[in-house]
């Protein structure tokens, strides 16, 4: 996954049936169809989630549905240890966007 492109409103998001639950829908961005994924397991998320974080991907831009941006930090500011990750003393969940597009196959 490449860099963050920008944050846009998700008000014109089009839901698409018969797609995986992690897919919230698609938006039109600079004339292209951009898929938007959800951080949660189900696409049914709160109404507060109305922003889309656009990121580069090898096949074109992809979006991630978010509530709000609370900050942009260097990796060095993230503290990890004992399986937990913290940012300024608060536990955070690290999302690997590549796994939203192509989820890893679970171990059998």
């Amino acid at each position: 996954m490449g860099k963050v492109i920008k944050v846009v409103t998700g008000s014109n998001l089009t839901p698409v049936p018969r797609t995986p639950d992690r897919v919230k829908g698609v938006i039109l961005y600079e004339g292209k169809v951009v898929p938007v994924f959800s951080c949660e397991k189900s696409r049914k998320t709160s109404n507060a989630e109305n922003l889309v974080l656009l990121m580069e991907h090898r096949d074109g831009p992809v979006g991630l549905g978010i509530d709000k941006v609370i900050g942009v930090v260097q990796n060095s500011e993230i503290v990890s240890g004992d399986g937990a990750v913290e940012y300024r003393g608060e536990p955070v969940q690290i999302i690997i966007p590549e796994n939203l597009v192509s989820p890893p196959i679970p171990d059998k």
């Binding site: 014109n12 089009t14 839901p15 698409v16 049936p17 018969r18 797609t19 995986p20 897919v23 698609v26 938006i27 039109l28 004339g31 292209k32 169809v33 951009v34 898929p35 991907h57 096949d59 074109g60 992809v62 597009v101 192509s102």
Partner: protein, 152 residues
């Protein structure tokens, strides 16, 4: 061409080669090129078949069920059926309502994004761009192929 009033579907069928039909299912819009469409009728929903004027019974696919909507039939019990001709015979798609019919140049078609895998790529294949929004472009043959094993 704007919204299609009930009873005026024939006009859309007459120009089907160059027209796109936009219709509603469970509050969402979908688009369809009218190629291979032979008839559009109003219908009471839910419906699994329609009897034609010549008594022929045509099997229908309920798009509400197919798209995973919670209710089988529309809120007011009325809907439309779009009947297609295909090599395997005629079949119908049942939707809630016609939204509008527009000349094809008024709604450019965009390709399905390669980042998005899954069955949806076959069912839709792409999107119509309509008033700065994306509308899934329904591939009727692919819907039929996918719906048959599910008994929809």
């Amino acid at each position: 061409m704007g919204a299609v009033e009930p009873g005026k579907f024939e006009r859309a069928i007459d120009g089907r080669e160059g027209l796109i039909l936009f219709f509603k299912v469970a509050g969402l819009s979908y688009g369809l090129r009218l190629t291979n469409v032979i008839r559009i009728d109003e219908i009471e929903t839910p419906a699994s078949s329609i009897t034609m004027p010549d008594e022929k019974v045509i099997k229908c696919i309920n798009l509400r069920r197919f798209f995973g909507a919670e209710r089988n039939g529309s809120e007011n019990g009325k809907g439309i059926v779009i009947i297609f001709d295909s090599e395997d015979g005629e079949f119908g798609l049942v939707a809630d309502a016609v939204d509008e019919v527009v000349p094809a140049p008024e709604a450019s078609e965009l390709m399905w994004p390669p980042q998005l895998e899954g069955e949806g790529a076959k069912i839709f294949g792409g999107f119509f761009r309509r008033r700065e929004r994306l509308v899934p472009a329904v591939n009727a043959s692919a819907v039929r192929e996918a719906a048959m094993p599910e008994g929809l």
